[in-house]
Symmetry: none
Subunit: 240 residues, 2 copies
C-alpha cells in the first residue's frame, strides 16, 4: 500500500482559467483531489472548464473551503509551494525531497499554492510543515501557478512506480485539526495570563509559536499529552 497522492490546495486563486490549467496539470500526473480556498470569483467558475482540457471531472469534484485551516484539516503533512520566507523559520526543501516525504508518509498530504499575483500569505505558509521551492534560474524566476503545480506533480509521480518500502513512523503524525486544537488551547491559556504583549507583537508571536509546534509532526498521543500539560499549567491558575 503506497501513500495516497497529495491533495492540491489552491489558496484564493484568482482566475478560473488558471484553476482549470492547474487541474489539467494535476491529472497528467495522476493527482485527482483539488481543493479551493475562497476562490476570488466564486465556484464553479465558467472559465475553468475550457482551460482544463478534459480534466473536468476533477473540477466537478473540487471541494471549496473558507479557510486554509479547514482545507487541510484531515492532512498530517503539508507543504507550502513558495520561495523562502524571511519572516518564517521553516525548513525549505526541493521537490525531490518533498516527493520522498509524501511517499513515506502514511496519512494524507497536501501542497498549498497561493494566489497567482501575490503567492501565499505568511499565515498560510505557517500552517505547513515545510516550504517546497523549485530551484530555478536566480536571474529569471517566473513560474506560473499551473507550471508550479505540474512540476511538483511530476516530481511526485516519479516515485509512484518505484514502490519502495516506506520507512514507517512508529506513530503516524496527527491530523492538522488535532494540532490546531493544541495551538488554540495554548493561545487561549497564554492569553489569560497576559503572555501576548505588547499588542502589536501578538500576531508575530503567535506565528512563531505555530511554526515551533508544527515542526515536530507529533502523533495523536503526543498532542494529547501536551494538551494535558498545558491544561495542568493553566488550570492551576484558577485553583491558586
Amino acid at each position: 500500500m503506497s501513500a495516497p497522492p497529495p491533495v492540491i490546495v489552491l489558496v484564493r486563486p484568482q482566475l478560473g482559467q488558471n484553476i482549470g490549467k492547474a487541474a489539467r496539470a494535476m491529472l497528467n500526473f495522476g493527482l485527482t483531489e483539488l481543493r479551493l480556498v475562497a476562490p476570488r470569483d466564486g465556484w464553479p467558475n465558467p472559465d475553468a472548464g475550457p482551460a482544463a482540457s478534459g480534466a473536468d471531472a476533477l473540477l466537478d469534484s473540487a471541494a471549496v473551503f473558507e479557510t486554509t485551516v479547514e482545507a487541510i484539516a484531515d492532512c498530517s503533512l503539508v507543504f507550502a509551494s513558495t520561495v523562502r520566507r524571511r519572516d518564517l523559520v521553516m525548513p525549505v526543501i526541493d521537490p525531490e525531497a518533498m516527493a520522498r516525504e509524501i511517499h513515506s508518509t502514511e496519512g494524507r498530504t497536501a501542497i498549498l499554492f497561493g494566489p497567482e499575483r501575490s503567492g501565499l500569505e505568511t499565515e498560510d505558509v505557517a500552517l505547513a510543515n515545510a516550504i517546497v521551492t523549485v530551484p530555478i534560474n536566480p536571474e529569471f524566476g517566473s513560474l506560473n501557478l499551473a507550471q508550479a503545480v505540474i512540476l511538483l506533480a511530476y516530481e511526485w509521480s516519479r516515485g509512484t512506480s518505484l514502490n519502495q518500502p516506506t520507512a514507517k513512523e512508529l506513530e503516524p503524525p496527527a491530523a492538522m485539526t488535532e494540532l490546531e486544537g493544541l495551538i488554540g488551547q495554548l493561545e487561549s491559556s497564554l492569553d489569560q495570563v497576559g503572555y501576548f504583549f505588547p499588542p502589536d507583537r501578538v500576531e508575530a508571536t503567535k506565528l512563531t509559536l505555530r511554526t515551533i509546534l508544527t515542526k515536530p509532526r507529533w502523533s495523536t498521543r503526543e498532542i494529547q499529552a501536551l494538551r494535558g500539560v498545558v491544561r495542568a499549567l493553566a488550570e492551576n491558575r484558577r485553583r491558586g
Copy 2:
C-alpha cells in the same frame, strides 16, 4: 566543466504565444538557446514577446532555420520529445535518462519539439538519437508545448548548479543542555501543580514528555521561546 545546456528546437511551431511561453519555460531553468524551424507565422512574431514574460532576450537571439536538419547541424546528440512511435524502431527514454545523457556528453545537444497540434513528423523524429517521453497518466495525457519544454528543462537542471541543495540555512538544533534546561523547567513547573500523579507513573510520564520534546530538534531560539511560554503559564500561579 559541465556539458553545455541543450538547445531547444521548436519544429514548425504554430502560435507565437506558445513560442513565448516555451522561452519563458526554458529560461526558468537556465536554457537560453532557442531555435525555430519554419515557424508557421514567420519570425519575429509579435505575440511571442508578451507571452515570454521577460524572457525576451532569448527570443531576440532565437535562430530560424528552414529545416530540422539544418537546425541540429552542430549537435552531436539529439532527442525528439514525443510519444512512442509505432513507425520507428528507436530507443524511448524518460526525461531522467535524457538528462543523464546530456550531462555526460561533450558536444552540443538538442531537444526537438513538434507543432502544437500534431507533434513531430516521422521524418523529424528519425533525425534524433532517441525519443524522450514524459511518463504521464495513461488515461489523461495532455501536455502542451510549454509544459513539455518546462518538464524537460527542469529535469536537465536537476543535474546543474541550480539544483544545489536549496540551502537549508535553518537554525541549527540547540545543544542538548539547552533542551535539558527546557525539560527541567517544565518538569519542575508541572511538579508544582501536581501534574505527576500517581507516583508510580512519574518516571514513565517524564520519559514520555522527554521523547515528545526531543523529537523536534528545536533551535536555541525556539527553546527560549518555549521556556518563555512555560514561565508565563507557571508564574501566573504565583501571581494568582
